[in-house]
Amino acid sequence: MIRDAVTLLDIPEGEKAEVVNLAGGYGFMRRLQEMGLIPGQIVKVIRNSAMGPVEISVMGTHLAIGRGIAAKIIVKRLGKHFYER
């Protein structure tokens, strides 16, 4: 396990994270991968409050992900000021 691996739920609004692994059933996890959540992909958390789903920006689109599923997305926290390349 990577040292600072957490789930998508742990990433505060406005921060970026790198997808490490999807820890769930075949169908759903595959769907997420096909929507761009592949290992190594950088995502930005747009909204994350206990009231509703997590909203992330990935490959230019916004995805809403239910909290139950977000809890199964293992990510690496990159912080607010991470820039790709």
């Binding site: 909203e55 230019g60 809403a64 992900i65 139950g68």
Partner: protein, 645 residues
């Protein structure tokens, strides 16, 4: 022109990229469209006939991949893979090229003849970007046409390109390749497949899908050697990359998509933060989002009511003024009664009570659908929906239920699992459709005041919550989660909104109107022969003693099974007035509204339920809701006796 040939062309692509808009523009079709993923759940067909060729155009539900899970996506996959259209128009969202190309690449793997429509190109330009479509076309080996479907731009060119591609009919084999480890295994497996078995799919496609562990393809391949080899390769890939083989392939496919996208997209000017992002800070805010949502809902309610009641009064009075003319007609009393009390009263009720409410309602619904706000409601209600054993996506068919329950029941196909679908469908039948809105606004709000109408809506929503909780408890399985693409906000295009409204109104005018008039005439004949009273007496114990309603109301409930509007229309014909305050007490108006709201939707909905879930479950829902409505109506009557005369 020589022999006339028919071609089949399918529209395919990710959800919410504008396939149905293109379909409507190309074929003049009437597909319901809107800015949220999952509207089209069934394939629709239209025809283009031009210069001696006939093209059957098929609009398919949105799909992210050729490996699919939810029911509406299987429709698309089966059609593309098995029915082999002559050509697929792959509608691609220009703003999300990388994501969309992921699907395009799979179509290329399937060796489907393709034309790409690079749609919503205007939005890309607004973002200060441009795409070199010539280069994209070269890289993919597929013709590419820029389009802005909502404004009918680029569609003539698209059609010409499609026509040329169809007539030339040449097939291009792509040279897009995966990384060495993956590619060598694909080609070895493909060779074995060619040698040992025959499939409807190209061998290379089958090889890739087997390495991806695709359950549907695995079912079709019976040869043991192939399956064993695929499994061996999967293990090897896992060892090399430290990830499951399917993850490796998906990642590599995305890498190809991303490489292509990067090399064709160019920045023209600087990026502006869109108004949509700013607006979402309110619309999706954990407090203001709900406040805004409630304000919007109440706003819609009052707008529809004010508009509706104003025009309802105006039109009813005007139409009633024709009565003397009809009465003077030289007809026997029998025919006079049939003509005025049967036909005309039906027309008056249809135009005077129903139309003024549903027209503005449909207009607002189309506006909501087109703007992209619906998906925000799904976002806000996700947690609430979880308590009902569903997730936020279920909210979209439910909202559609406000228009009509039939598409709402079909729309539940966007739910991934059968259990979720069934719960969502039952809840959808409890959503007050436009017909019921007419009754609540035209009867309860008009004669008791809007607050009472709101109260009925609130009671109904509470009922939906309770039923959802109960179903969730008694039906096996845990709820699945929400994964939904948030559509961009879009400035609704007036022409499209008006068309959408007209499509729905047409349904009412052509389909419901005749039913209303015929039912009214039948009722009039019953009344002329004095058959109403025995029927009413039969219903009396339940109607009067338990629900506190006049026995005649029971008859309207029976007709209401055909169309819900009929309950109110019949009430007006039975009492020969549209001023219901004269014939019903306030309590009766309230109970009448409440019971109509929840007892089974109508025949069309029952048929939709039967089609989707079988007659057993459809019957269970029908009986359950009927009994539930009577029991709850009776209880409500006892409670209301304390407050209302």
């Amino acid at each position: 022109m020589k022999d006339k040939k028919e071609f089949v062309v399918a529209l395919a692509g990710n959800a919410n990229v504008g396939k149905s808009v293109i379909f409507n523009q190309l074929t003049g079709g009437n597909q319901i469209i809107g800015n949220w993923p999952g509207k089209t759940v069934e394939k629709a067909e239209g025809f283009i006939e031009q210069e001696g060729i006939r093209i059957r155009v098929v609009d398919l539900p949105g799909i992210y991949s050729l490996s699919t899970y939810s029911e509406e996506e299987i429709v698309s996959r089966e059609f593309i893979a098995k029915e082999k259209p002559d050509l697929v128009i792959n509608v691609v969202d220009a703003v999300n090229l990388e994501r969309n190309l992921f699907f395009t690449l799979q179509l290329i793997e399937l060796e489907t003849p393709l034309v790409i429509a690079l749609n919503q190109y205007d939005i890309l330009e607004n973002k200060g970007l441009e795409i070199n479509e010539k280069k994209l076309s070269e890289l993919l080996g597929v013709p590419v046409v820029k389009t802005v479907a909502v404004h009918n731009k680029g569609l003539t060119e698209l059609f010409e390109t499609v026509k040329t591609a169809l007539l030339e009919g040449k097939k291009k084999i792509s040279n897009l390749r995966y990384g060495k480890e993956v590619e060598s295994r694909i080609s070895e497996l493909a060779k074995l497949i060619t040698k040992k078995t025959k499939t409807v799919y190209p061998p290379r496609f089958v090889a890739i899908k087997l390495l991806e562990n695709d359950p549907l393809i695995k079912k079709e391949i019976t040869d043991k050697e192939i399956l064993e080899k695929a499994e061996k390769f999967r293990q090897e890939l896992k060892e090399i990359h430290g990830e499951e083989a399917e993850t490796v392939i998906i990642s590599e496919r995305y890498a190809i998509a991303s490489r292509i996208a990067e090399s064709v997209i160019r920045r023209k000017s600087t990026f502006r933060k869109s108004i949509g992002d700013w607006f979402d800070n309110i619309a999706l805010n954990k407090i203001w989002g709900y406040v805004f949502f409630i304000l919007v809902t109440i706003g819609i309610f009052y707008a529809v009511f004010e508009f509706g009641s104003f025009f309802s009064d105006l039109l009813s009075t005007w139409l009633e003024s024709f009565k003397p003319i009809f009465m003077k007609m030289p007809l026997s009393p029998f025919w006079n009664k049939i003509l005025w009390d049967g036909v005309m009263e039906g027309v008056i009720a249809g135009i005077g009570i129903v139309l003024p409410y549903i027209a503005p309602f449909y207009l607002i619904l189309a506006f909501l659908e087109d703007s992209g706000y619906l998906a925000r409601i799904a976002f806000l209600t996700d947690n609430l929906m979880h308590k009902l054993g569903l997730h936020g996506k279920a909210f979209m068919p439910l909202i559609e239920g406000f228009g009509c329950n039939v598409p709402a029941v079909l729309g539940t196909r966007i739910m991934e699992r059968d259990r979720d679908r069934f719960i969502a469908a039952i809840l959808a039948t409890l959503v007050p459709c436009s017909a019921r809105t007419v009754i609540i606004l035209g009867l309860v709000a008009a004669f008791l005041g809007p607050v009472y109408a709101l109260l009925i809506y609130i009671l109904d929503f509470i009922l939906i919550l309770i039923v959802g909780r109960i179903l969730n408890k008694f039906m096996k399985g845990t709820p699945s989660g929400l994964i939904m693409e948030m559509p961009r906000y879009r400035k609704p295009v007036m022409k499209i909104i008006l068309k959408q409204t007209w499509i729905r109104l047409k349904e009412f005018v052509y389909f419901a109107f005749p039913i209303i008039i015929i039912a009214n005439v039948v009722m009039e004949i019953f009344s002329i022969f004095n058959w109403i009273k025995p029927a009413a007496d039969f219903l009396k114990p339940v109607m009067t003693n338990f629900l506190g309603l006049p026995p005649l109301a029971g008859i309207t409930f029976i007709f209401g099974i055909l169309r819900k509007e009929l309950t109110l229309v019949m009430l007006s014909t039975l009492y020969h007035t549209t001023n219901f305050a004269k014939v019903l007490t306030p309590r009766q108006i309230f109970i009448f509204g409440f019971v109509t709201m929840i007892y089974i939707p109508c025949v069309a909905t029952i048929a939709a339920l039967k089609r989707e879930f079988g007659w057993k479950r459809a019957t269970a829902v029908t009986i359950g809701e009927f009994v539930g409505a009577i029991v709850l109506g009776g209880i409500l009557n006892q409670i209301l006796k304390l407050f209302m005369p």
